[in-house]
């Protein structure tokens, strides 16, 4: 079986365009949340999110990020035309306001085909993943598994969510948003999540293809795991059984012991139920080793990017271990007995970690774990 490696990455977040802006923002430890200017929030209970200036267009930003990631990977036009796109989005952003007669012509397939076409990627073999906050991480896991098993040489995975009025209204109505304007994962006094812009793209290739490039890969996709809780439509299993299975599967595939994990970028939504469930999952899967692994949820800095979370946070994890600096778990007020983890608090933590994990969870009890290694 061949290695799957990341050879290109591009990102847009509330910290600005590009990986350097994101890394600088993360390491500043200053959350990117601010009053929403992009649309009218006067009727909302909460009026805060992490957004870029103005109203960028999702399709345009996805296309730009994909091109930039492909440029970094050194892909020719011919290489791109042979590479399928796995795209993680909520759906076609135009469909909800299209005239009824036009709706059947829209949809996820047409949107994904259009993005792939504009980015010069393959016209066949594209997929759109729409499974909420594990959409992008599932797409990354599938891409890595296909490459490891020889079903593909290269897949471009992209995900995008730009804060907009409809999801904002839904999360507000569901009382999921933090009414104190901060996300406080694993902390006493946490009050919920806040949405954030995120568009990310990664090129995942076989080790054989990557060796043809002059520069070394950015990271190795060492392991991955996906699981379900079988517990509730929207709440996680309180004991974290499902997520623990995803973590265990990812470590087993990576051939990495729990003690060798140098960082966990947690799902850490900052909500009441989810953080203790994730803590229990990590304690179950990692055993005593959990006490020594630094953990942070960078949703406390860049916000919750929904379907794009998996690729945004994979890039965050990759940037952190390449830099040797782990971003803080911001917003922390004090310990919660249900969330005993070795959180990165106060300031970024220097590391020589060779392996790191990015965790995601979603409604429906869906869980994913991705393990990356420095090449």
């Amino acid at each position: 079986m061949t290695d799957a490696v990341v050879t290109g990455a591009a990102v847009i977040s509330a910290y600005g365009r590009g990986t350097e802006a994101l890394l600088a923002g993360l390491l500043s430890g200053r959350p990117a949340f601010a009053p929403v200017q992009r649309f009218d929030v006067s009727a909302r209970r909460v009026r805060t999110a992490a957004t870029m200036p103005e109203s960028p267009d999702l399709g345009t930003e996805l296309t730009g990020a994909i091109r930039e990631a492909c440029d970094e990977a050194g892909l020719s036009q011919a290489d791109r035309a042979r590479s399928p796109l796995f795209l993680a989005v909520h759906g076609d952003p135009a469909i909800a306001r299209a005239p009824q007669a036009g709706q059947p012509g829209l949809g996820a397939e047409a949107f994904t085909a259009a993005v792939a076409g504009r980015a010069g990627l393959a016209e066949q073999g594209f997929r759109c993943y729409m499974s909420a906050c594990v959409a992008a991480s599932t797409a990354v896991a599938d891409a890595a598994a296909m490459i490891r098993r020889g079903h593909a040489d290269r897949v471009v995975v992209a995900g995008g969510y730009l804060v907009e009025s409809d999801q904002f209204a839904l999360f507000d109505a569901g009382r999921a948003l933090a009414d104190d304007g901060q996300v406080r994962p694993f902390s006493a006094g946490r009050r919920g999540l806040l949405l954030g812009d995120g568009v990310g793209a990664v090129v995942i290739e076989s080790g054989r293809l990557a060796r043809r490039h002059s520069s070394p890969p950015l990271a190795r996709m060492a392991g991955w795991g996906r699981s379900g809780d079988a517990y509730h439509p929207c709440q996680p299993h309180p004991e974290g059984h499902g997520m623990a299975r995803a973590v265990t599967a990812a470590l087993r595939r990576a051939g990495v012991a729990a003690a060798d994990l140098g960082y966990i970028n947690a799902h850490g939504s900052g909500t009441g139920h989810s953080d203790p469930a994730e803590t229990n999952a990590l304690r179950l899967a990692l055993g005593d080793a959990v006490a020594a692994v630094p953990v942070s949820s960078t949703k406390s800095l860049h916000g919750q990017a929904l379907e794009a979370s998996g690729v945004l946070e994979l890039i965050v994890t990759l940037l952190a271990i390449r830099k040797g600096m782990l971003p803080v778990n911001a917003g922390f007020l004090g310990a919660d007995d249900g969330c005993r983890l070795s959180l990165v608090l106060g300031e970024a933590l220097a590391t020589t970690a060779e392996f790191a994990m990015s965790l995601n969870a979603a409604f429906g009890g869906a869980n994913t774990a991705l393990v990356i290694g420095v090449p």
């Binding site: 909800a96 994904t112 109505a173």
Partner: protein, 187 residues
């Protein structure tokens, strides 16, 4: 209007063909509408205004009720396939937002396809991954990969589209349970 039988046949034929192409064995299947008696989708407590989630539940449970018993520890993934998604709910939310009206909290919980998958997973102890993709071929290939990769033993694939036009078109869905080739019974 298209007859129930032809809609059903198209959905099921597409799932069976994609399963065969992905090297998977279909162990159970179901569809909606299946007969002329399938006129209104049975409502589901907690899910409102849209047939999307109730339709997934109906067709999935038909397929699950028909399957042979499996090992208690076996894992089952849920792979939903939809191009338009829950366009009914999305349209309602957009209209409410544009009119400055309040959005029902229940629409938050059904705003992603994962919620109905979680409902099914809890009722039927389906502990495999939850996935939603846009195309039938992609759905069956994703299921085959999950089985090959060892993250699940079998997969429940549900293909669903709700009607978007008043009067014309019709909600339709189909489901198959699939296993990998190694789980096939011998001749």
């Amino acid at each position: 209007m298209t007859s129930p039988a032809s809609v059903t046949a198209d959905d099921l034929a597409a799932l069976h063909a994609a399963a065969a192409a992905a090297g998977l064995t279909v162990t159970s299947s179901a569809s909606w509408p299946q007969t002329d008696a399938d006129r209104e989708v049975t409502p589901l407590a907690g899910f409102i205004e849209s047939n999307f989630s109730p339709l997934i539940a109906e067709v999935a449970e038909r397929a699950l009720r028909r399957r042979e018993p499996i090992q208690p520890q076996a894992t089952t993934a849920i792979v939903m396939v939809t191009n338009l998604g829950d366009v009914t709910s999305a349209t309602r939310v957009a209209a409410a937002v544009d009119a400055g009206r309040r959005v029902s909290p229940l629409l938050f919980f059904q705003s992603v396809p994962n919620s109905i998958a979680g409902y099914l997973a809890a009722r039927w102890r389906l502990t495999g991954p939850v996935v939603c993709v846009s195309g039938t071929k992609a759905g069956l290939e994703a299921a085959a990969l999950l089985i090959d990769d060892g993250d699940t033993d079998e997969a429940l694939i549900v293909r669903v589209e709700v009607a978007v036009t008043d009067g014309g078109g019709r909600d339709h869905a189909a489901a198959v349970l699939v296993t990998g080739p190694t789980n096939q019974e011998g001749p």
